[in-house]
Symmetry: C2
Subunit: 101 residues, 2 copies
């Protein structure tokens, strides 16, 4: 299985991060990741009443913007927040957004 693409820390763009987080579902995912440390890709689907393809779309936007990291763990995909990378690129941004979620 191909590893999903992730931007290098230095390539994370502010406009892409802001766009990725300008959506209620993706902000909800961000909050969950911040609170729980990680998430398995489809465990949120039933809870949030979202179709698998819709959820995949949101995960892809977060990953491609550099907000999340996705790794394969057996048959499941595991999501984490790229907190250190985001804090290094944009100090204070994530904390201020998380405080408002």
């Amino acid at each position: 299985m191909r590893s999903p693409q992730h931007p290098a820390t230095d390539d994370i763009q502010l406009t892409e991060v802001l766009r990725a987080l300008s959506d209620p579902v993706r902000l909800e995912i961000l909050g969950r990741l911040a609170r729980e440390g990680h998430l398995y890709c489809f465990e949120l689907g039933a809870e949030m009443d979202l179709h698998k393809s819709t959820l995949s779309h949101h995960y892809r936007i977060l990953r491609e913007a550099g907000v999340t990291h996705t790794s394969q763990e057996g048959r499941r995909k595991r999501l984490t927040l790229r907190r250190d990378d985001l804090d290094a690129r944009f100090p204070g941004l994530l904390d201020s957004i998380l405080a408002a979620v």
Copy 2:
């Protein structure tokens, strides 16, 4: 002339602010407003090589999201940043974005 619509402070939504700022032109306008305090609507057009209608579109998005305030000053429109309102709603958010611009 009709006054342009501005959301009340409590109605400013995080998703709308993030979406408004997820664009390089609008981030540039934000930076200018933060540095200079105010801006007249079309003075940026020539400088940024943008058509009047494109600039109007960006100003509208910023205003409707609650990021900027537009007032009429004679025949010109004057833009300011709603810094106090944004700081009250989302402490630290604006500073972290401005630091990264």
